[in-house]
Structure formats: structure tokens, C-alpha cells
């Protein structure tokens, strides 16, 4: 890498860190100013709504299979259902994810064998 590329890499690194850290510092100062009230109440409502929505949007995007095919969409649907059912039963974090990946992989393997 030449020196110009190094500068570009450093600028991207610092910029990415600032994008993640500066809004936190802003909110921490905002919460300090509103000290005394509950910190959740002191947060703007739109921000508390936006958090879960960002996770939901990431979920929607991640549902698109890496190799799109009818079998992959079936595997996604069955995998999501299995994950949810295992979560309902265990109310845990690890087991539903493990079960979802196992079922997804099983359906893909089955489709590759049959088709």
C-alpha cells in the first residue's frame, strides 16, 4: 500500500470509530443533563423505538440466503420456524440459534441429495 492509501485507511478507521462513539458521548451528556429522572425516560422516544426497528431490519436483510434458490427459501422458512419454536420452549439464546442452523443445513442437504 502506498502512503495515500494508508491515509485513506486511517481516515476510514477514525471516521468509523467517530460514527460509533460520538453519538454515545452526545447521549451520555444528554443523560447527565437530565440527571434525577429515569435515564430511559430521559431518552428521546424516537430513539427507543428505532433500536428494535434496526434489529428487525437487520433480521429482514439477513433472511436473504447467500445462494438464492427455491430450496434455500424453504430452508430459511423452516429454519426460522424451528428457531422460534425452540425459543418458545427454552427461552434461551444459544439453543434456538443452534437448532435453526442445524435445521437450515439439514433442509439444504436434503434438497441437494433429492434434486
Amino acid at each position: 500500500m502506498d502512503s495515500k492509501l494508508w491515509i485513506a485507511l486511517l481516515a476510514t478507521t477514525i471516521g468509523t470509530l467517530l460514527i460509533r462513539a460520538l453519538p454515545l458521548l452526545w447521549m451520555q451528556r444528554h443523560l447527565v443533563r437530565k440527571q434525577g429522572s429515569n435515564s430511559l425516560d430521559a431518552m428521546p422516544t424516537w430513539l427507543t423505538v428505532l433500536g428494535p426497528l434496526m434489529i428487525a431490519a437487520m433480521f429482514g436483510v439477513s433472511l436473504v440466503p447467500s445462494a438464492v434458490s427455491t430450496a434455500a427459501w424453504w430452508a430459511t422458512g423452516i429454519g426460522v420456524l424451528s428457531t422460534y419454536l425452540v425459543w418458545k420452549r427454552t427461552n434461551s439464546l444459544g439453543w434456538p440459534v443452534f437448532a435453526g442452523v442445524a435445521v437450515y443445513g439439514g433442509v439444504i442437504l436434503l434438497a441437494n441429495t433429492v434434486l
Binding site: I19, R20, L24, V32, T48, L53, S62, T83, S92, L109
Partner: protein, 253 residues
């Protein structure tokens, strides 16, 4: 790994590490792809690892490497990679109420990726205040190291790996939607949230299928916010109509 407030003993960082393990399924295959593509674009193996260590942002790293390889002006490369990460501005403020005033937190935001945010947003409120930093460090270090390690493996042996086990790269990324679903699942008990989240997921999915993966997250979240506030206004009107009707009936009676 219960989602309820769990006793974390004296090792919250270990709990964080354990809870970040599902992320590896999504991180490692993508990091291997990045290492492979970076090398194919003319970067050396250690340069690819350095980009993963310093920038540590999936989509923008791919864009950085592709634009540099295409000979784009470097100021434009920096601008575009930062624009892709602009959605991260809402992550820190969302977890701020559960963070202490420690001067380390802003530096620890280097590890605040999409997935670590999703995990922290649900888990930090459930942990004791004194355990939160340890938990966050444990979780983010596992994710960061898996990203760096995956890049190194991809740069060194990515081509061979993807040829030998193509199915692994196809199956493991399903860990991410499975994890996001588990993090969202408790909110589906509330009708307003169920409709809002359902609409957000459908919009994001449709945009991603149309090839707009990066724009999909902020656009779908904005659509979800419209649904949330729209339904709130509608239900508010309904309640006030019912109140007026009741008042009218009591006056007539």
C-alpha cells in the same frame, strides 16, 4: 443462556464470550470471503488483516477494497465507506442508558457492529451494572477476533476452503437471522410491536431481494417508525372517539 436477568458470577466477560459464539456462524464465512476478495484485488494478506482489524465494518470493507481496486479517487472511497456505516449513529445512544460514565466506553465503541449492538440492546439491561463492561468486552472481542481470524484464513486459504466445503459457507450464515429472531421474539407478544416489526422485516426483506442490502436497514427502520407512530395516532383517535361516545351517553342518561 437465559434471556432473563442471569447471575453472571464473577466472570461476566466469559458470559459475553459465550453469548457471542452464535455470531461466529455469520462472521467467519463473510470474513473468509473478504480475505479472499482483498487478496484477489491486489492487497497482501497482512494488509487485508489490517483493514479488518482497524476498520472492522463488513460492507464498507468490501466497498473499500473494490473501489481502490477500481481506481476510484481515495477521498471518494473514504466518503462512501463512511456513508455505508452512517446507520451506526443510532446504536451508541440506544445502549447509553445502560453504560457507566467510564472513559473506556467511547473506545469500546470500535466493537459496536450491527450484531454486537443487537445483542447488547437486549442483554445489557438484563445484567448488573457492574457486569456490563466485562460482558461487552467479552462479546465484542470474540466477534472482533473471529472477524480478523476469518480474514486471515480467507487471505491464506480462502479459495481452497470455499472449493472444498462450499456448503459450510452457505449454511453457517443462517446463525445471524436465527440470532436476530431470538432477540426480537419477546417483543412479538405486544400487538403494536408485532405489526411494526412485521412491516419492518417485510420491507427490509423486499429491499434486500431487490439488491439494496445496505440501504435496506435504514429505509426499513424508517418505514417501521412510520407504522409505529401511525398506529399510535390511529389507536389514540379510537380511544378518544370511544371516550367522547361514553361521555355523550352519560350526559344523555
Amino acid at each position: 443462556m437465559s434471556l432473563d436477568t442471569a447471575p453472571t458470577a464473577n466472570r461476566p466477560w466469559l458470559l459475553g464470550m459465550r453469548e457471542a459464539i452464535p455470531l461466529l456462524g455469520g462472521y467467519v464465512p463473510v470474513a473468509i470471503s473478504f480475505g479472499l476478495i482483498a487478496v484477489q484485488s491486489g492487497f497482501s494478506g497482512w494488509e487485508a488483516v489490517l483493514i479488518s482489524t482497524l476498520v472492522y465494518a463488513g460492507a464498507s470493507q468490501f466497498l473499500f477494497v473494490a473501489m481502490v481496486a477500481a481506481g476510484a479517487p481515495l477521498w471518494f472511497v473514504v466518503l462512501m465507506t463512511l456513508l455505508i456505516n452512517a446507520r451506526h449513529v443510532v446504536y451508541g445512544p440506544n445502549i447509553a442508558p445502560w453504560l457507566s460514565q467510564s472513559r473506556w466506553w467511547p473506545w469500546l465503541m470500535h466493537g459496536l457492529t450491527d450484531q454486537i449492538f443487537a445483542l447488547s440492546h437486549v442483554r445489557l439491561p438484563q445484567l448488573r451494572a457492574e457486569d456490563r463492561m466485562g460482558w461487552y468486552i467479552g462479546a465484542s472481542v470474540v466477534a472482533w477476533f473471529s472477524w480478523i481470524g476469518g480474514t486471515a484464513v480467507g487471505a491464506i486459504a480462502g479459495k481452497e476452503l470455499t472449493q472444498r466445503w462450499p456448503l459450510l459457507g452457505e449454511v453457517m450464515p443462517f446463525a445471524l437471522p436465527a440470532l436476530f429472531l431470538v432477540l426480537l421474539a419477546p417483543r412479538f407478544a405486544n400487538r403494536l410491536w408485532a405489526i411494526t416489526l412485521g412491516a419492518t422485516i417485510v420491507v427490509a426483506l423486499l429491499l434486500a431481494v431487490s439488491g439494496m442490502k445496505n440501504a435496506a436497514i435504514p429505509i426499513a427502520a424508517a418505514c417501521g417508525a412510520l407504522v409505529y407512530y401511525g398506529l399510535g395516532i390511529l389507536s389514540g383517535r379510537k380511544v378518544s372517539r370511544e371516550n367522547m361516545k361514553r361521555e355523550g351517553e352519560s350526559q344523555n342518561g
